[in-house]
């Protein structure tokens, strides 16, 4: 890995949430004695990202992904820990920091709802103080790449989700930032928009060396884009590796037998499912041996070997996560 560009050390963020019991009595009690529950969104997260990396950041809902992005983009001040993005602490040098980054939150637009897209762009040009020449260059390139020409005069509120997301992505890049934080950029998009989004992000990373940190629930995003994946749950980083690491060594072997086979006790392989002539096995290792054995023992019509779906591996990792009980206990502890 090259010189770390983004450094996160022991980052923790606690939120205080006011709680009250349900009902009228609960509301009255809440006036006299307000209880707060402390929710730990980040629990000592550390990682480093090199310049020009494209990193996927995954985890279930409420794992702490967005909180991390918000701290990195200078919106949130963490409870403790250190963080440096290209040499600056985001929440300390916010103005200087945000001028060099681009951020897209898939769940909400940063464009001005009532303005036509082009006027939002022009306002951003003035806010980021982008010189006229480089603004024109960036705008034209983004409009061409993201196919925005027909949308420029349309008020943002009239755009479809896919169109809005493209406009949002363009808006985040008008000032040519070196670093791009994308929080669920493909959420709710159709297949075509997703593919367009992915190829754009990939090209930007490859051609300009833009460092990208991207959160998503879509494992296809991760597979298509990210050389590196970090997995977070309950505010703790559980894995930091490659997409290949997410894939276990296990293989799915789908066998279509000539006739319904009698497999009782014949093989060590786990049977995932069977219906009629089709049986799906899961094999830990030595796949070739297993295949040879099956084809030798039974008349086989067809056979395919595949990875288990990455979603299943990830879901398993989510479930394994430590702290599930801990979090429940913390919730019950009250003030």
């Amino acid at each position: 890995m090259s010189e770390p560009y983004i450094v996160v050390q022991d980052l923790a963020k606690r939120f205080q949430i006011a709680e009250r019991d349900p009902g009228l009595w609960g509301a009255l009690k809440g006036i006299a004695n307000r209880r707060y529950r402390s929710v730990e969104a980040l629990h000592g997260v550390s990682f480093e990202i090199g310049r020009g990396e494209l990193v996927g950041y995954i985890g279930p809902n409420g794992a702490g992904k967005s909180t991390t992005i918000k701290v990195l983009s200078g919106i949130l001040v963490p409870s403790s820990g250190h963080c440096s993005v290209a040499g600056l602490t985001p929440w300390k040098s916010r103005v200087e920091h945000v001028a060099r980054i681009g951020v897209v939150f898939g769940q909400r637009t940063q464009l001005w709802w009532d303005l036509p897209v082009i006027e939002s762009f022009e306002l951003l040009r003035d806010i980021y103080r982008v010189p006229a020449a480089s603004y024109a260059r960036e705008r034209d390139e983004l409009v061409a790449l993201l196919d925005l020409e027909p949308l420029l005069d349309v008020p943002v509120r009239q755009l479809s989700l896919g169109q809005r997301m493209r406009a949002d992505l363009a808006a985040s890049l008008l000032h040519d930032p070196d670093i791009l934080f994308l929080d669920e950029p493909t959420i709710g998009l159709d297949a075509i928009s997703k593919l367009a989004m992915r190829s754009f992000i990939q090209a930007r990373n490859a051609e300009r060396g833009t460092t990208v940190l991207l959160t998503t629930h879509d494992m296809d995003d991760v597979e298509a884009l990210c050389s590196r994946v970090m997995l977070i749950n309950h505010g703790t980083l559980l894995m930091d590796g490659t997409v290949a690491d997410l894939r276990s060594d296990r293989r799915r072997v789908v066998v279509d037998f000539e006739s319904v086979p009698d497999l009782t006790g014949a093989h060590a392989a786990r049977i995932v499912s069977r219906s009629g002539e089709r049986v799906v096995f899961e094999v830990e290792s030595r796949v070739a041996e297993f295949v040879a054995e099956v084809t030798a023992s039974y008349p086989v019509h067809d056979l395919t070997v595949d990875h288990p779906p990455i979603e299943e591996t990830v879901a398993e990792l989510y479930r394994q996560a430590p702290g599930r009980q801990a979090a429940a206990a913390e919730g019950a502890a009250g003030d």
Binding site: A99, W112, E122, I127
Partner: protein, 273 residues
């Protein structure tokens, strides 16, 4: 924040707010109606006065009609869009912009005070200054400024009023970060601001023992000062000092708002995700 950035934000927001012409027209009707009622009250009041009032009737007319024309300039309400942004947590995303948050909001708030005022002020001034004498209501119409100097100084003072009003509105906006719904402040301000600005009763008509207090409170700069400069009740040679006081209060309240925002920023909680 550069002035180009500042003006771009003001311009965009004004453009959006200037779309609400129907609301402005309705507002014009209501304010005209109330203006007439106020004028009639003062006609009766001045007809039965046993001692010489501290303001001439012409000066009161200026006070009433300018008050109606510049009503939207008073900082008694909040920008619903900013309130909604705070409620929904959208305010956090403003922090993604490489500008000082106070300046960013100040520009928007300035537009929020300016655009509706412009929309209502123009028809009100045209009607009360030009049309009323024309239809035979010259006794009740808006008089001309006391002198050319008074007129220019009024414009200067009105700009200071815009600044002061924006500074007060900013404090209302920032206080929303604590109360979220803003009901407390929002309900108090429509009572407090017009009274102390002089819009219920012109401040010079209050009893003498209150004058000291009324002089040293910031809301006076929102209406009383510019109106009295226009009518010459504050003579032209004393006007600059009054404008300086308006600016002094603005600076003080801007400083307070900035400090408040710095504190709020550290308590920021973004709901969800």
């Amino acid at each position: 924040m550069t002035s180009r950035t500042f003006l771009a934000i003001v311009a965009v927001r004004c453009k959006m707010l200037l779309q609400y012409r129907a609301a402005a027209l309705a507002g014009f009707g209501t304010q005209l109606f109330w203006g007439f009622i106020k004028v009639m009250v003062f006609v009766a009041f001045y007809a039965s006065a046993v001692v010489e009032p501290p303001m001439t009737f012409a000066q009161v007319l200026v006070y009433v009609w300018l008050g109606q024309a510049l009503l939207a300039l008073l900082p008694w309400n909040v920008d619903k869009e900013i309130a909604e942004q705070i409620r929904s947590g959208g305010v956090a995303y403003e922090l993604l912009r490489p500008v000082d948050l106070y300046g960013f909001w100040f520009a928007r708030t300035l537009a929020f005070r300016l655009a509706p005022t412009l929309l209502r002020m123009v028809p009100m001034l045209v009607f009360t200054y030009f049309m009323m004498p024309w239809v035979g209501l010259e006794d009740w119409a808006l008089p001309a400024p006391a002198s050319a100097a008074s007129g220019w100084l009024f414009l200067l003072s009105a700009l200071a009023t815009l600044l002061l009003s924006t500074a007060v509105t900013m404090i209302l906006h920032i206080s929303l970060m604590w109360t979220i719904s803003g009901e407390g402040f929002n309900r108090m301000m429509p009572g407090v601001v017009p009274l102390f600005a002089g819009l219920i009763v012109p401040l010079p008509l209050f009893p003498d023992w209150l004058q000291g207090f009324l002089y040293w409170q910031p809301f006076r700069g929102l209406a009383d000062v510019p109106f009295r400069i226009y009518s010459g009740h504050i003579p032209a040679d004393a006007a600059l000092l009054e404008v300086a006081m308006q600016l002094g209060w603005s600076a003080l309240l801007i400083g307070f708002g900035m400090a408040l925002l710095t504190r709020a920023r550290h308590n920021l909680v973004v709901q969800g995700g």
